[in-house]
């Protein structure tokens, strides 16, 4: 870490030296703010390059010395600069560097591998895809296989039937063609049927917009809702940073509402009201409420009663309810059950005219965890037809989402049924993954709760634990001396001592003065005991070093 800060500072000093005198003082301010290490962090998909003075001098020119170029840091969209994404930061850079170094320099470290607990990316940690889904995708990718007799020896019979059924729904059986901008109609039919089976209320395929993962759907809605910083979106804190990043990119205001850690990350209507009023008093028009259920990073599953209150609140205040329901299959405790907001609203007797509701679903999560496919959809209900046309128009600018993601989204909403050839193996794979995730969540939660000064709510759902760490004053002082957020300081020490990569709570935002980290429950089960041991050992020695 120290090496990083020194390197960065040195680099900045070099750049400043090379830099011609700047007439605008804000440039200097920007440089100063860069000297403060970023509080946000990390995953494997994004790790900013660590600039060193040597590498920057080899480069075609760092930004400050090339200010005559049309596009530099000084002239890019300030909303881009402002947006923060916790799926970034130096911890992963450090982890990747450690991983490279481990290959040649094994003896230098007290661990022999890096364990990435920073991102919900199950298949990168060895989770196997559901066989049936992949069989169907392979057949749809290379449809000539369907004419080969040998295919019957290599594929399950229902995967072949399903592939035919899907191809028949695609005009010209052309899986290489752009589809309807909302997604292939037949696949949307299957999804609508799946929603109906889940909720017991009708779903309309014309309400479904298929997207490359759930994130583009969230961006699309932000684009529609936000015109300026006067438009606010209520977001949970702690939150998945997609929301803060998207709001910043679209130039709106994030209106925070705090989840109550003491009551298992409960969502209090009184808190929503308070924050809404507070925003109004600042001249902000709150347009929507984002709810993540099951919660990310907090793992709580909302009770139906709580959901009803939320629906009523949105209806009364005229807010669009943005329901992030991507973890709907990930529920690990018998006393909680996932209920979609659409089902809750409909069961209250609220229809199209009563509430505007957008529900997001993804193929990246659940038991399938197909992150690399970029598939998802949003179900859009309770909007007038002229608004719907605008959503369609925005979707059409990007033509369509990728077809294999679309096919997979339809498969997860209409998996094999009892009696199908693949049914038993499908159920065994699914149950195996979900019950193992539940075991891992429980084991990690118990281990965390045994640590001095650590309390951890159970992961009722989703894929994460978000323990609260009471850091000793000495540790906080040491973090300050190292110019880093206390939780980031803890996480870096953890990485260097154990090879375990987690994300500091500051990346998700938290009640000021409290410290957390997010740890996925995704490492394979046989690795969990070692993780628990290393984590426990590290924490003990950390506390011994810094105990007040």
């Amino acid at each position: 870490m120290r090496r990083f800060v020194i390197g960065q500072a040195k680099n900045l000093i070099d750049q400043t030296r090379r830099r011609p005198p700047q007439p605008h003082h804000h440039n200097n301010l920007r440089l100063l703010s860069l000297l403060r290490p970023s509080a946000s962090d990390s995953t494997a998909v994004y790790s900013p390059r660590l600039f060193s003075s040597s590498s920057s001098s080899d480069m075609p020119g760092s930004d400050s010395s090339t200010s005559s170029l049309p596009v530099t840091l000084d002239s890019i969209n300030p909303k881009v600069l402002k947006c923060e994404y916790a799926v970034r930061g130096e911890i992963v850079s450090i982890a990747q560097r450690l991983q490279d170094d481990l290959k040649t320099n094994k003896d230098a470290y007290p661990f022999d591998e890096i364990i990435y607990c920073n991102i919900g990316n199950p298949q990168s940690l060895g989770q196997q895809p559901i066989t049936f889904f992949r069989e169907v995708l392979a057949l749809c990718s290379h449809t000539a296989l369907l004419d080969e007799s040998a295919t019957h020896g290599l594929f399950s019979s229902d995967s072949i039937d399903r592939a035919w059924k899907i191809l028949d729904q695609i005009p010209g059986k052309a899986t290489g063609a752009y589809s309807h901008s909302q997604g292939i109609k037949g696949l949307r039919d299957a999804i609508a049927a799946g929603i109906e089976a889940r909720d017991g209320f009708p779903a309309d395929p014309n309400d479904i917009f298929m997207t490359d993962g759930a994130s583009p759907g969230v961006h699309m809605m932000m684009q529609l809702l936000i015109s300026s910083e006067k438009d606010g979106i209520l977001c949970p804190i702690p939150q998945y940073p997609l929301y803060s990043a998207s709001i910043a990119l679209h130039g709106g205001s994030l209106v925070p509402y705090y989840l109550d850690e003491a009551s298992g990350w409960g969502l209090e209507i009184s808190e929503l009201k308070k924050q809404l009023e507070d925003a109004k008093s600042k001249g902000i028009t709150v347009r929507a409420l984002a709810v993540i259920n099951p919660g990310n990073p907090t793992g709580q599953v909302l009770s139906e009663e709580n959901q009803r209150d939320i629906v009523d609140f949105c209806k009364k205040e005229g807010l669009v309810l943005l329901a992030d329901e991507v973890y709907q299959e990930n529920v690990y405790v018998p006393d909680k059950k996932f209920h979609s907001f659409k089902k809750v609203a409909r069961s209250m007797g609220y229809g199209e005219k009563d509430i505007s509701l957008v529900s997001f679903q993804s193929i990246s999560k659940g038991y399938y965890g197909e992150c690399g496919k970029r598939g998802g959809y949003m179900e859009v209900t309770g909007f007038t037809s002229d608004v719907r046309e605008q959503i369609y128009k925005v979707a059409s600018v990007n033509l369509c989402s990728n077809i294999s993601g679309q096919i997979l989204a339809s498969l997860v909403m209409s998996p094999p049924k009892p009696g199908d050839d693949s049914y038993d193996s499908y159920i065994a794979e699914k149950e195996g993954i979900l019950s193992s995730l539940a075991t891992r969540a429980k084991t990690l939660e118990e281990a965390l709760n045994k640590l001095e000064g650590v309390t951890c709510n159970r992961a009722e759902g989703a894929m994460y634990l978000f323990p609260c760490i009471t850091l000793p004053q000495k540790a906080i002082a040491a973090a300050e001396a190292a110019k880093t957020a206390p939780d980031a300081f803890y996480c870096k020490r953890l990485l260097n001592a154990t090879g375990i990569v987690v994300v500091p709570g500051s990346g998700f935002r938290q009640v000021p003065g409290t410290w957390h980290f997010r740890c996925t429950i995704l490492p394979q089960e046989d690795k969990i005991p070692a993780i628990v041991n290393r984590l426990t050992e590290f924490h003990k020695s950390f506390m011994n070093e810094f105990r007040d």
Partner: protein
């Protein structure tokens, strides 16, 4: 009912202002007619597989194996897959961390980006850095990411050719920037005149617009021209003088239908020009798996390469990319295959060459049939499609037709295209969706319908046009002028 959460009035104005004609009124009407049972020829989108083009076999085999990696352990896999496809599938899976189901690096798999860099180096003869190549879900996503980084507010202008592919106008609207048009010269085979560019920039500046970037589409969409090397040099010099980032939309680089003007990348021309320009002009080039002889539109795969973009700006672009986590991994593999296709000696080589040549040669013939067909029609003139996938004929609408359109509340070319659709089932895009000079009307059609259907399509177009012109055109006719 209570307060409406989001109604048309409260929508973001930028969204309302955005227009995207490729899937606009004509397309929606065509879809309706199709539902009613009418046979529709969709020539509105460059979507080859939808019109019957077969996918190339080899890449589909490789991706199918990556989709179902357990097949690789099956001793019988060789019965239905050739050995080189099996080897390539293993290669690409080894470049991933967790197969097709895991997020990759937000910029795309490092191994595929390396293959892209090697392709660019082979194509241009100059080195390319994989760190400056980002893979995207189709080229459109890349264009959106880059424009998002450039456009700050409505004072920022982007030079865009007119006629243009409406992705640019739509994205600039959505991001709240200003489109600064420069007109292509139809009588000069849609040539790009640098004097026009200067005028456009001067005019924009006089209105307080900061022109930030210039878009070129080469080969042109919808106009089909290939830019000459001399023209590209002028453009790069212009961008240098005016401090503009050049956005090179080069997605049709494989689609060339004449031999006089081959495709030359902007990057190669820039490097050929040497210093200081080669170090000063900022260039971002876009490519895709949707076009060429691949036509894999449904995969949503693309890349952009950045030249002379400073490292810390690259970091910001990386951050924007990271918010979408990663581009879809199977399309990344398609991209890898596109830039490193089978080589001579590989088992699949002959078939691959046969398939790809077959597609390109047929497209070349179709480009000719279409241009000639349009030029044989009354009041229609059409430049030859040198490249890309479109024909963009000018329709000289008689005053009576323009009058009738006005009465129907339609833009004249929309009126014409709707009539064409109702009469023949041919679904085109009116020129007004791409922008055109005042009082001049066009339509865009792809050259993608199957070759054997081409004569019939052109015949039915001619018949419609003759009838249209005689209905609206008494005492009028350019053919007599």
């Amino acid at each position: 009912m209570s307060l409406k959460a989001l109604d048309y009035e409260t929508l973001n104005e930028n969204v309302k202002n955005c227009q995207y004609a490729v899937r606009g009124e004509l397309y929606l009407r065509a879809s309706e007619l199709q539902k009613e049972g009418k046979k529709i020829i969709f020539t509105n989108v460059g979507n080859p597989h939808a019109l019957g083009q077969k996918p190339l076999t080899f890449p589909r085999q490789v991706v199918a194996l990556c989709q179902a990696p357990f097949l690789l352990d099956n001793p019988n896999v060789g019965m239905i897959f050739p050995a080189d496809a099996i080897a390539r599938a293993k290669h690409y899976l080894s470049l991933t961390s967790g197969g097709l189901g895991a997020y990759s690096d937000s910029r795309g798999l490092p191994g595929v980006r390396k293959e892209v860099a090697e392709f660019i180096q082979r194509r241009d003869g100059y080195p390319s850095d994989p760190e400056l190549i980002f893979l995207t879900d189709g080229a459109s996503k890349g264009v959106m990411q880059i424009l998002n980084c450039i456009i700050r507010d409505q004072k920022d202008g982007i030079l865009v050719p007119v006629p243009q592919y409406p992705l640019y106008s739509a994205t600039i609207s959505l991001l709240g920037g200003t489109l600064v048009p420069y007109y292509l010269e139809e009588t000069d085979n849609w040539g790009l005149d640098v004097n026009n560019l200067r005028q456009s920039v001067a005019q924009a500046r006089s209105q307080g617009i900061t022109v930030r970037a210039m878009v070129i589409i080469n080969p042109g969409n919808p106009t089909g021209q290939c830019l000459s090397e001399a023209n590209l040099r002028e453009i790069l010099k212009f961008c240098c003088d005016e401090r503009l980032v050049l956005l090179g939309d080069e997605v049709y680089q494989q689609n060339i239908y004449q031999d006089e003007r081959p495709f030359i990348s902007s990057k190669k021309v820039l490097m050929d020009m040497g210093e200081p320009l080669s170090k000063e002009v900022q260039l971002i080039s876009f490519h895709t798996v949707s076009k060429g002889y691949w036509g894999e539109c449904g995969q949503r795969g693309g890349y952009f390469e950045m030249t002379n973009i400073p490292p810390r700006t690259v970091e910001e672009i990386y951050k924007v990319a990271s918010i979408a986590l990663s581009p879809n991994v199977s399309a990344q593999i398609f991209m890898g295959l596109m830039v490193s296709p089978p080589k001579p000696g590989d088992i699949s080589y002959d078939q691959f060459v046969r398939e790809s040549k077959g597609i390109l040669e047929s497209l070349r013939r179709r480009a000719r049939i279409m241009t000639d067909g349009f030029n044989s029609c009354k009041n229609v003139v059409c430049n030859f499609t040198e490249g890309a996938m479109y024909s963009f004929p000018q329709i000289k609408l008689p005053p009576k037709a323009i009058q009738a359109a006005k009465q129907a509340g339609k833009v004249p070319d929309v009126f014409y295209c709707l009539k064409l659709l109702e009469a023949t089932g041919i679904s085109t895009v009116p020129g007004s969706g791409f922008g055109q000079k005042e009082g001049v009307f066009h339509l865009r059609t792809t050259i993608l319908p199957a070759e054997e259907e081409m004569p019939e399509i052109m015949e039915s177009f001619k018949k419609f046009n003759d009838e249209f012109m005689s209905q609206y055109g008494d005492n009028f006719g350019y053919s007599r002028m």
